[in-house]
Every structure is written in structure tokens, then in C-alpha cells.
Amino acid sequence: MGEIMLLIFVFVIAGFLGVELISKVPSQLHTPLMSGTNAISGITIVGAISATAIAVSTSNDILGTVFGFLAIVFATINVVGGYLVTDRMLGMFKKKEDKNK
């Protein structure tokens, strides 16, 4: 029970932290912010890896192995693709160059 309450505690605190972090973001950064946080939601890859390991070794279930494998694949696409595409976008945002040359 103690661990459950601690997890819920972490859940609530992280939620409020998210509100504080995001509330003042200029509108021009909305897309990179969205795709950057989208990449973070691929953190589910951590859960996918641990669930797959159990499915492969302990429970030895074919359906579980397939689901787990696919979960890792999709989460990795989300993570790698998300970070790369965000970086590409942010690389395009430039300040005004010297106009008086």
C-alpha cells in the first residue's frame, strides 16, 4: 500500500509540475513543444522492454512476446522519430541575420 500511495503522490506532483512548465510558452514554439513532448511519451518503451523480457523468459507466452515486441518497435519509432523531427524543426528557427551588410 505504501508504494501505491507514493506512486500516486509522484503522479499528482508531476502533473502540477507540467502545468508550471508549460503555461508560458510562446505560440511559435507550440509545434516543437508538442512533438518534443510527444517523443517523451515514448517513455512507455521502458515498460515495453521490461514486459517483453518477462513474456520471453518467465511466462513464455507467444502472444505476449509478439505484443511486447511490437510495443518496443512502436515506442522506439515514437521516440527516435519524435526527437529527430523536433530537432529538424528547431534547426530551422533562425534569428534575423544582419541586414546591413
Partner: protein
């Protein structure tokens, strides 16, 4: 302290480092100068988290040389390599105009992954406690909605699926039934105790109903409302990861998932505010039903002009504002627009871009396109920054935008968009509207701006019109 305990301490510390990097990364992502560094920082956090999980006990236990087919690391490495290659190729190949659908698709994959994690976890251990049951059930529900919802959004944005607007009769009733049936499934599973059959029924019920719910919820939503729904789905995929973390008691999943969930929710509310609509009316109301009253129609004919005459007006202008909309993305006109902006600046005019928060199909869509065309971000102004200066603007050039410059939002109470904050293009001395043809545009709302006395329509493909204006400047 034995070795196992020591490793566990290390694992906890590394997860902590990775969570801190995510928090710091999101913070830096919110400022233009540091955004790229922030994204890098959060990706390092992700790398640390992924390496750390490889040292977890259940993953270490899956290591075996005796029987390679049962070696967990083999599966993990192959799956990660496969996903990394696919993700990298897509991220490299995508055109900036295709960005909204790619973000939607990646988001769908995140949701699908959380859904599959929950199902794998269920298969691994069919008996459950109520807490794990409820969180696992909710992971399935939210992950499933995020998955099918994002796929539908991807289909709509890329024009591959659901091209025509779809209406579902008694939509709210159907959605409510699906949602409640799914939640009943969650309870059934959570309180099934040792009865595995009952638990199985519950899991199947929640998976099926919420996969369908994602479809029925998003399929009726029109293109103009896409920025809101994309950020909402983004919030869902984060929440799904957070609930998965609660179910398998992994704190790094809880922290990062929850951060994404709330940040997505805030972005959603910002978008809603920019359209003067509540999230409730967007999801449960029907924009289509309001189309019976399209606002007061005017009998006046809009005035149009040739490119040559338009050039003469532009040439004399000392202050010009571009107001882009989704039409600019469709015509891929952003590079030509930048050329025209350069010509105007050479000609001594002050050039700005006024960008409405919901212009385009995702939050900040226009900013990304214009940044791709090398427009410096100091020139990109929000509606609040630009509107007070609008009466001093000589020419406002509206490119493929419609509702976001519709003055009915201010003065016509019968208009469906009444109350929505707009860019006051009508206050400029002259307004050019670049438009494919006559008509009200996709939302079907009458726009009195087009028939104003100071408005001049330039019909035709936006990219072509802008290019011919550029060549007029070159010939001069």
C-alpha cells in the same frame, strides 16, 4: 547490502537523473533560444532510461545463452533497432507541410505501445489486485483512444482517409455507451480476483470499446478543429504512459507520462481559448449543426484585381502584414511568400507576419512552415502583438486564411464563430485576399471581409499569385 540491492539503488538513481533531464528539457523547450538544447537534453534522459531498464532484475533474468530463442535481450535489441531505423527514416524524409500528420502518427504509435504494454503485462500475470487492475485497464482505455484517434487524425490530415466530413447520428449517445461499457470492463477485470475468465472478458471489452471510441470521437471533427484534437491526443498518449507506470510501479514512466499529459492538456486549452470554444463543445457539440446559420450573407460582390494592379499598390506600401492560413500550406507557398517579403523589404517596407494560434492544422503550424522558408522569428507576430498596429498597416495580405480574419467574430452575434479572437485584417488600409476561388471555404461560414470596400480579392493558386507578384518586382 548485497549486489542486487546495490544495483537497485543505481537503477533508482539513474531513473531520477532521467526524470530530471526530462523536466529540464521541457523547460528549455519553452524558450526559443534554448529549445534545441532542451530537446537534446530530454533525448539524453530517454537514452539513460532505456539503458537503465536493461539492468532491471526481470530483464537480467531473461538473459540466457542456453536457449537463444528465450533470451530477452535478443528480442529487445532487434525491436529497438527496427523501430529506430523506421523512425529515423520517416523523420528525415518528411516534408514540413506533412508535419501535422507525422506528429499525429507518432503520437498514435505511442498510444498503441502503451496499449500493448498493458496487454503484455496482463498476459504475463492474469491475476491482479484492484489497484493494478484499474490502472492497467485505464492504460488500455487511454492508449486505445490515443491510437485509433491519432490514426483517424493522420488519415484526415494526409487526405488519405475520411475525406468527406462524417456525421454519426446520436454520436454522443453512442460514445457515452462505449465509454461506460469500457469502464465496466475495467471494473470487471480489476475485481475479478482469481476468476480468470471474468478478467479476460473485461480486458476484451475495454480494448474493443475504446478502440472504437477513438474512431467515433475523432472522425466527426472538422479540419479547422484539428489543432485542438491533436494536442488532446498528445495528452492522452502521455497519460497512457503514466498509467502504465502506475500499473507496473515504475516511477520514471509516471513522472514523464504525467508531464506530457498535463502539458498536452494545457496546449489543448490554449487552442480552445484561441477559438473561443470549450473542450466540451468541441467534443460533444457539433460544429456541423451550426451551419444552418452561416451568418448574415451579403449581396455585395467582392472586388477583384489583376496582379499588375496589385503590384502597384504593394510597391507604394510602407508597411505590409502577411496573414497565412492552411491554404498557404496546401499551396506550399511559404517559399514564394518569403521571396515576396524580401522584395518588399528591399523596397523599404516594414514586413511582418501575423499568425493566429489555430491557423493551420496543428498548434504553431504556420510558424514551422515560415521558419522552413527562413523567415526570422522576430517577424512572426501573434494576434495580440499585431492587432493594435493594424490601422497603420498599408496592406494586409491574407493567404489561404479565412475564419481567423472573419470580422463576424466581432460584430455578428448570429455567426457560429462569434466571440473568437481574430486578426483584425479589416482595419488595414487595403486588404488583399489570396483565394483559390469564390465561396465560403471549408467551414462554410460567410466572411464579410471579402466584400468590404477596402478588400481586394486575388483569385487563383496562392503560390502562383505570390510568384507573379515577385516577378513584377523583379521586372520593375
Amino acid at each position: 547490502m548485497n549486489t542486487n540491492e546495490l544495483i537497485n539503488v543505481f537503477i533508482t538513481v539513474l531513473y531520477m537523473v532521467s526524470a530530471v533531464l526530462f523536466i529540464r528539457g521541457i523547460k528549455l523547450l519553452g524558450k526559443a533560444d534554448t529549445a534545441r538544447k532542451g530537446n537534446l537534453m530530454s533525448s539524453v534522459g530517454m537514452l539513460i532510461a532505456v539503458v537503465t531498464v536493461l539492468a532491471e532484475k526481470e530483464v537480467r533474468d531473461s538473459f540466457t545463452l542456453a536457449n537463444v530463442a528465450h533470451n530477452g535481450y535478443l528480442y529487445i535489441i532487434v525491436a529497438v533497432a527496427l523501430g529506430a531505423v523506421i523512425g529515423a527514416i520517416w523523420a528525415k524524409k518528411v516534408e514540413m507541410t506533412g508535419m501535422p500528420q507525422l506528429v499525429a502518427l507518432f503520437n498514435g504509435f505511442g498510444g498503441l505501445s502503451s496499449l500493448l504494454v498493458a496487454l503484455t503485462q496482463y498476459i504475463n500475470d492474469k491475476q491482479t489486485t484492484p489497484f493494478v487492475g484499474i490502472t492497467l485497464g485505464l492504460t488500455i482505455a487511454i492508449g486505445a483512444i490515443a491510437f485509433t484517434g491519432s490514426v483517424v487524425a493522420w488519415g484526415k490530415l494526409s487526405g488519405k482517409l475520411f475525406k468527406k466530413s462524417v456525421t454519426i447520428p446520436a454520436k454522443n449517445f453512442i460514445n457515452a455507451v462505449l465509454a461506460i461499457a469500457g469502464l465496466a470492463g475495467v471494473c470487471l477485470y480489476a475485481f475479478s480476483g482469481a476468476n480468470e475468465k471474468l478478467g479476460f472478458v473485461g480486458i476484451v471489452l475495454v480494448t474493443a470499446t475504446y478502440l472504437i471510441l477513438g474512431l467515433t470521437m475523432v472522425v466527426t471533427i472538422g479540419g479547422g478543429d484539428m489543432p485542438v484534437i491533436i494536442s488532446l491526443l498528445n495528452a492522452f498518449s502521455g497519460l497512457a504512459a503514466a498509467f502504465a507506470g502506475l500499473a507496473i510501479s515504475n516511477s520514471v514512466l509516471v513522472v514523464s507520462g504525467c508531464l506530457v499529459g498535463t502539458s498536452g492538456l494545457i496546449l489543448t486549452l490554449i487552442m480552445c481559448k484561441a477559438m473561443n470554444r470549450t473542450l466540451y463543445s468541441l467534443l460533444f457539440g457539433s460544429f456541423g449543426a451550426a451551419s444552418s446559420k452561416k451568418g448574415a450573407a451579403s449581396d455585395k460582390e467582392p472586388r477583384s484585381m489583376s496582379v499588375e494592379d496589385a503590384y502597384l499598390i504593394l510597391e507604394a506600401a510602407s508597411s505590409v502584414v502577411f496573414i497565412p492560413g492552411y491554404g498557404m500550406a496546401v499551396a506550399q507557398a511559404q517559399h514564394s511568400v518569403k521571396e515576396l517579403a524580401d522584395k518588399l523589404e528591399e523596397n523599404g517596407a516594414e514586413v511582418n507576419f501575423a499568425i493566429h494560434p489555430v491557423a493551420g492544422r496543428m498548434p504553431g503550424h504556420m510558424n514551422v512552415l515560415l521558419a522552413e522558408a527562413n523567415v526570422p522569428y522576430e517577424q512572426l507576430k501573434t494576434a495580440d502583438e499585431m492587432n493594435p498596429q493594424m490601422p497603420n498597416v498599408d496592406v494586409a495580405i491574407v493567404i489561404g486564411a479565412n475564419d481567423v480574419v472573419n470580422p463576424s467574430a466581432i460584430d455578428d452575434e448570429t455567426s457560429p464563430i462569434y466571440g473568437m479572437p481574430i486578426i483584425n485584417a479589416y482595419e488595414a488600409r487595403t486588404v488583399f485576399v489570396l483565394k483559390r476561388g469564390k465561396g465560403t471555404g471549408f467551414s462554410g461560414i460567410e466572411n464579410p471581409l471579402f466584400t468590404n470596400d477596402n478588400t481586394i480579392m486575388l483569385y487563383g493558386d496562392a503560390k502562383q499569385t505570390v510568384s507573379s507578384l515577385v516577378s513584377e518586382f523583379e521586372d520593375a
